[in-house]
């Protein structure tokens, strides 16, 4: 339980207040909920910072990221970190694939509260959005404690561990043409935590594959993305690749057996890859 609440009014103020004892308070659906994964003595509310709002098309000012292969675009879609899931669903500017990912959060009331930035920052293994952002080649705009703007692609942000934990996520940046992005979420009920959320994007033959596997990992599946970019794979080949990926350890838990999760992950990847590579959503 937090002991202190600070209402930040500027991005710089919010970023400067973040430390190991504090946490950003965005929509509150994670921090304030029962069994939250976030605990902090001080909460820095960022709900009143106007610069974190808004959805717009802007000139791409981000540097290209050679390590992750992200290219620099002409114009990009900027989604302010404090935009709620419902803001995204209602926006005319947001592509359908991202709206679909936002609708994975079945509760309208929760969608009214939960923010894009908050969901990304949590990097949960049942994330509604992250696999889709990975598949779409999204980037994050952040502000560090010293007020420096930092850009990182979603893949790099994910793989960086806690490196950027204290940065304030300012916006999610999406290429206007991300190619075809297809996602699927498997959960017991619409309100349950997802056992699996998978997203496959394909642009100019290059496949991006993101997956949130509950109690296993939130992961960009680089090797499989490469293989799928270079050739078509059948269910068996994908299953073999999933099984061969030693970094993916599947637990036997309330979401199902390891065999079930491996199989499901494989057939969903297979189906989504066919759709994405075939240009169908």
């Amino acid at each position: 339980m937090a002991e202190k609440l600070i209402i930040a009014t500027t991005m710089a103020e919010a970023a400067s207040l973040k430390n190991s004892d504090s946490a950003f308070l965005a929509g509150g659906t994670e921090i304030n909920r029962l069994g939250s994964s976030v605990a902090a003595a001080t909460l820095v509310s960022i709900g009143r910072i106007e610069d974190l709002d808004g959805i717009s098309i802007i000139e791409d000012q981000t540097p290209a990221c050679s390590q992750s292969g992200c290219s620099k675009e002409g114009k990009i879609l900027r989604i302010g970190a404090m935009c709620t899931f419902q803001d995204v669903v209602e926006s005319d500017l947001v592509p359908a694939y991202l709206k679909e990912a936002c609708r994975f959060m079945a509760s309208r009331t929760k969608r009214n509260m939960a923010t894009i930035g908050g969901n990304v920052a949590l990097k949960r293994d049942d994330s509604y959005l992250y696999p889709t952002l990975l598949a779409a080649g999204a980037k994050l705009q952040m502000l560090d404690r010293d007020g420096n703007t930092v850009y990182k692609c979603a893949k790099r942000y994910l793989e960086s561990g806690d490196l950027y934990r204290d940065n304030l996520i300012v916006a999610i940046l999406l290429p206007l043409d991300a190619g075809v992005v297809c996602s699927k979420r498997i959960a017991n009920t619409a309100q349950s935590h997802a056992a699996l959320t998978v997203s496959v994007g394909c642009k100019d033959g290059k496949v991006r594959l993101g997956a949130a596997i509950k109690n296993t990992a939130l992961v960009y599946m680089a090797e499989l993305s490469e293989k799928l970019s270079s050739c078509d794979m059948d269910d068996k080949e994908i299953l073999d690749a999933v099984c061969a990926n030693k970094s993916l350890v599947f637990e036997n838990d309330i979401f199902g057996s390891p065999e079930y999760k491996r199989y499901l992950l494989s057939v969903i990847i297979s189906d989504l890859a066919k759709q994405a590579k075939g240009g169908k959503r």
Binding site: K4, L5, R33, G35, T109, N188, T189, S192
Partner: protein, 959 residues
């Protein structure tokens, strides 16, 4: 921090900690209709408010964030005296039932219509996607919106609300607003939590972390030092009284196998100690400081483990019998173990053997089943397993008790106020005249509030401390320390011939009662007694055993044992049809009972006594099956455009009871007040199902009084007379009949008094609207007002007060057919319920709109049980799904795409105005209907709950 905001159009300022939750701030402001059902999980939506015009969960918002904001709460809509169009439409549509979430839902629908004047079905679904409705389902929410819009646009409703029955009657069988609807939808004081006093102490229970352990010692010395602690209760300072928590007729067919606190804990979550403190925080802190030394014991979690030779024993104490003790009891008790085991006391023999973990057993047979099996064309044999599931009422268990004038007053959210009084009397030692139980409105029961799960301890705590005490279960406690549906293993063997005749049925039921034996005999009995009598079969046998284990406790749950038995027996019947090569529908039609068929099988299926063999009474089963088959297009194969999705259809015939003939007892008192109005005191417990409205309608119908001249007070042990309670589908039939008897008696008194006052013969008089006596002979009339006024003034005969008592041996059985169309993805195992049609015979549905909603609600529950809900335990007995999100309760997203409830018109001979029960039976059909449809879709029989995608894939050989 100073928080300035506008709440329901009024400026408000608070000087509070900004990290306080918004809901807590609103409670300070008196907005108690902003409730909490999930301990801030963001699931149930009871805490929904609007902040700057947007629906949010108040428990997930901090007070400091709303500074300068405008907030609307459910209680800011309309009062019960001045309802808004939306609130009224919700009542009229029949969705305001137990209603814990009705105010929040009213707020959401109001918000929807303010922002979208012509919402589509998808818009309504989206608006309600964050609110959990367990009682009435979601279907009539669409109707409520439609009604509200019609009234907004045209000033009146145009759409029919529900079908009407019995044109010769005025209010019976017609949609009439539920009488407690305004209070509930407006969010006025109604539930236990609303009656706690400012000086209330809070009780928090320390629970066992072990599935089985002896308590060596408890050190509460540090806990007692916490400021504000009033008392700490443990096994060492509470009575050595053995009882049980099932609210059943006395003597109960359940063993008395527990004390307030035991020295052996028998499940994770079992009571160890209770702290009563002046604040909740102090109680929690003190709880955390209690030191307990346990001697951990091996545990058993399944019936297979419990029945294994040498299995750890859940109970191994001394056995006593109040009646019918066996001759070898002394020898038997020589096997008793550690004194900390306590005792097991039977009111009469239950064919139990605690040394084999058997809590109860029974068996019986008609005809010759083995011979039938040997001489039939086909025999099928399969085992069906049901899982442990929880009722999840929105209002978690709660009790508020205090001493007043030397008496213990208990505010309880209960289905059984008189059983609460009796059991609280047992544990406190108080006689019943010193205990006053007030049943408040009940925010969802579904059987779990048939058990006295917290009232015993809360009542005792208030009695020994002399302080007002509130105990309110957390959602986790609902799962681990409450009651659940008994997991069952139902083995069915069924034989038939090629002519479509079923020749023999054998059911073997092994039930898991958990650590205590609440309902341990009667729930599994129901698995047989409410399924076998569906069949015209001369050879039937049942054998049931109930095992103690160390899982969370089991108890009563809507449908009782019937959903499990129905799942097994109907699935087996479909498997038999498959094997015989006969269409399942034809097999059903050839073998179901009809009116007049003598039910020999009932002889051995009484509740701990011999059952009465009776013929089938009014029966709408055939019509339900025919109607449902026509609606769903039975026999027509549906083909999906996507080859991965396979479509199938299934159905199940269902039955229940209407109370327990020969056991249940209901009473009512009808009073003609001095102005000619009537107050009916009903012993019945309206748990949101509209029972009070039924009683009011009965008075209105008999005395020809307008509904607003009738008040029903129910479930108050001081002012009402005895009633066994709202369980076993008894409400309409027993409590309703008691109201009818009392009202008829009052009518007789009115006519007699009127004859005296009018100088007429009683035979020449009758009553008529709007509440007067008239003479068929002289055409003179006397209003109830004048009649009553004269009767109590000067030399009158006194107030007319009539008592009605109802018992019966008659059995009125509701029947029905539930139909499902499912789509199964053979690649991913996903299952979608595309269509669900519930066709039921409820006799005369006295409240048809409420009846339909109860059918929708019960079906939604059972779809949940069949497909999603599951209390998963780890190897140490910890529940891994003890919250709403992980547990898997279905919400509007899981509702069938095409969902219909239909009432078959049947007039029963014994029910009040021909009524039978409605709600429980609707829990019985979904599992077999869906299971059979899954087989029709993809060819696999799923023989265990929940029927999951993983099980589909395994059955298909995909994994």
């Amino acid at each position: 921090m100073r928080i300035d905001c506008i709440i329901n159009s009024k400026h408000r300022s608070f000087d509070i900690d900004p990290t306080m939750k918004l809901r807590d701030m609103l409670l300070l402001n008196g907005n108690f209709a902003v409730r909490d059902s999930d301990d801030s999980e963001g699931f149930c939506g009871s805490d929904t408010v609007l902040v700057d015009g947007t629906p949010v969960f108040a428990n997930l918002v901090l007070a400091g964030e709303v500074n300068g904001c405008e907030i609307r709460t459910p209680d800011g809509l309309g009062s019960s005296q001045h309802l808004t169009v939306v609130q009224q439409a919700m009542i009229d549509a029949g969705i305001v039932q137990s209603a814990y979430n009705a105010p929040a839902a009213a707020l959401l629908l109001t918000w929807l219509l303010e922002n979208n004047p012509n919402p589509s079905k998808e818009d309504i679904k989206d608006a309600l996607s964050g609110i959990f409705i367990r009682d009435a389902g979601y279907e009539h929410y669409y109707l409520a919106v439609k009604l509200a819009l019609e009234r907004m646009h045209n000033g009146s409703y145009e759409s029919p609300i529900a079908p009407s029955f019995r044109p010769n009657l005025d209010v019976i069988g017609k949609p009439v607003s539920k009488i407690d609807g305004p209070q509930l939808v407006a969010g006025e004081r109604a539930f236990v939590e609303d009656f706690a006093t400012p000086d209330t102490c809070y009780m928090v229970v320390l629970r066992s972390p072990h599935a089985s352990a002896y308590i060596n010692s408890i050190d509460d010395s540090e806990a007692r030092k916490v400021e504000g602690v009033v008392e700490i209760l443990t096994a060492y300072n509470t009575p050595d009284t053995h009882y049980m928590q099932a609210g059943q007729g006395n003597p109960e067919p359940s063993p008395h196998d527990r004390r307030l606190f035991n020295l052996k804990v028998r499940h994770v979550g079992d009571r160890v100690a209770a702290v009563i403190a002046e604040t909740l925080e102090a109680a929690k802190e003190a709880c955390s400081l209690i030191k307990v030394d346990y001697e951990v014991l091996p545990a058993v979690f399944t019936v297979e483990e419990a029945m294994a030779p040498g299995a750890p024993l859940v109970h191994n104490g001394v056995v006593e019998y109040r009646a019918g003790a066996p001759a070898d009891l002394e020898e038997y008790n020589k096997l008793a173990g550690d004194p900390r085991e306590g005792k097991v006391v039977y009111q009469f023999p239950l064919k139990a053997d605690i040394h084999k973990n058997i809590a109860a057993s029974n068996k019986g047979e008609i005809g010759n089943v083995d011979e039938a099996f040997a001489n039939s064309d086909a025999v099928v044999e399969a085992t069906y397993q049901t899982s442990q599931i929880q009722h999840t009422p929105l209002e978690t268990h709660i009790c508020f008790a205090q001493m007043q004038g030397g008496r213990l007053v208990v505010h309880a959210s209960t289905q059984v106020p008189y059983h609460v009084r009796r059991i609280v009397g047992w544990v406190t030692g108080l006689p019943e005249n010193k205990i006053h139980v007030i049943k408040t409105r009940v925010g969802g029961g579904y059987g779990s509030k048939q058990d006295i799960l917290i009232e015993d301890l809360t009542g005792y705590a208030a009695y020994v401390t002399g302080r007002p005490v509130l105990c309110h279960n957390t959602r986790e406690e609902e799962f681990i320390a409450n009651s659940t549906r008994h997991p069952m293993r139902v083995h069915v063997k069924m034989s038939g011939n090629k002519d479509g005749k079923i020749t023999g049925i054998f059911m073997e039921v092994c039930a898991n009662t958990g650590p205590y034996g609440n309902h341990c005999l009667t729930v599994p009995m129901n698995s047989c007694s409410k399924t076998l009598p569906l069949f015209k079969c001369d050879n039937m046998r049942y054998d049931l055993k109930v095992y103690y284990t160390n899982t969370p406790p089991a108890g009563a749950y809507q449908g009782y044992g019937t959903p499990k038995g129905t799942y097994g027996i109907m699935m087996a019947m479909a498997e038999l049809a498959d094997k015989l090569g006969i269409d399942y529908k034809d097999l059903v039609l050839k073998n179901h009972v009809e009116e007049g068929y003598m039910l020999e099988i009932l002889k051995g299926l009484g509740e701990g006594r011999e059952g009465a063999v009776v013929p089938v009474g009014s029966c709408g089963l055939h019509e339900a099956i025919k109607t449902g088959c026509d609606m769903i297009g039975w026999g027509k194969k549906e083909i999906s455009e996507d080859p991965d999705w396979k479509i199938g259809k299934g159905f199940a015939m269902i039955m229940q009871g209407s109370g327990l003939p020969g056991l249940d007892h209901a009473e009512a008192i009808a009073k003609l007040e001095t102005d000619g109005t009537v107050i009916l005191n009903s012993g019945g417990a309206d748990i949101g199902t509209g029972l009070d409205t039924i009683s009011a309608k009965i008075v209105a119908e008999v005395l020809k009084l307008p509904m607003d001249k009738i008040t029903v007070i129910s479930g108050d042990t001081d002012s009402c007379a005895f009633d066994t309670g709202a369980y076993a589908s008894s409400g309409t039939f027993f409590s309703g009949n008691a109201s009818l008897v009392a009202t008829n008696n009052l009518k007789d008194m009115i006519l007699k008094e009127a004859a005296f006052q009018m100088g007429e013969n009683v035979e020449d008089l009758d009553v008529r609207a709007p509440g007067e006596v008239y003479s068929k002979k002289t055409e003179k009339a006397l209003s109830y007002y004048e009649l009553s006024h004269t009767a109590i003034s000067g030399e009158g005969h006194g107030q007319m007060i009539a008592h009605g008592s109802y018992v019966t041996k008659a059995s009125s059985v509701p029947y029905g057919g539930h139909f499902a169309q499912v789509a199964v993805n053979i690649r991913t195992g996903e299952i979608k319920v595309q269509k669900f049609y519930a066709i039921q015979d409820a006799g005369t549905p006295i409240n048809p709109e409420i009846a339909l909603c109860q059918m929708y609600g019960a079906v939604m529950k059972s779809i949940g049980h069949s497909l999603y809900e599951d209390m998963k335990l780890d190897e140490k007995g910890n529940c891994l799904t003890a919250n709403m999100t992980d547990y898997g309760a279905p919400m509007i997203s899981e509702a069938p795409e095409d969902f219909k409830a239909v009432l078959v018109d049947v007039n029963d001979a014994y029910g009040p105005f021909g009524a039978k029960s409605i709600s429980e039976i609707a829990c019985n059909g979904a599992a077999p209907a869906i299971g059979i449809a899954i087989h029709d879709a993809c060819g696999v029989w799923l023989r265990s709950w929940p029927m999951t995608p993983e099980k589909i894939l395994k059955a298909l050989g995909k994994i």
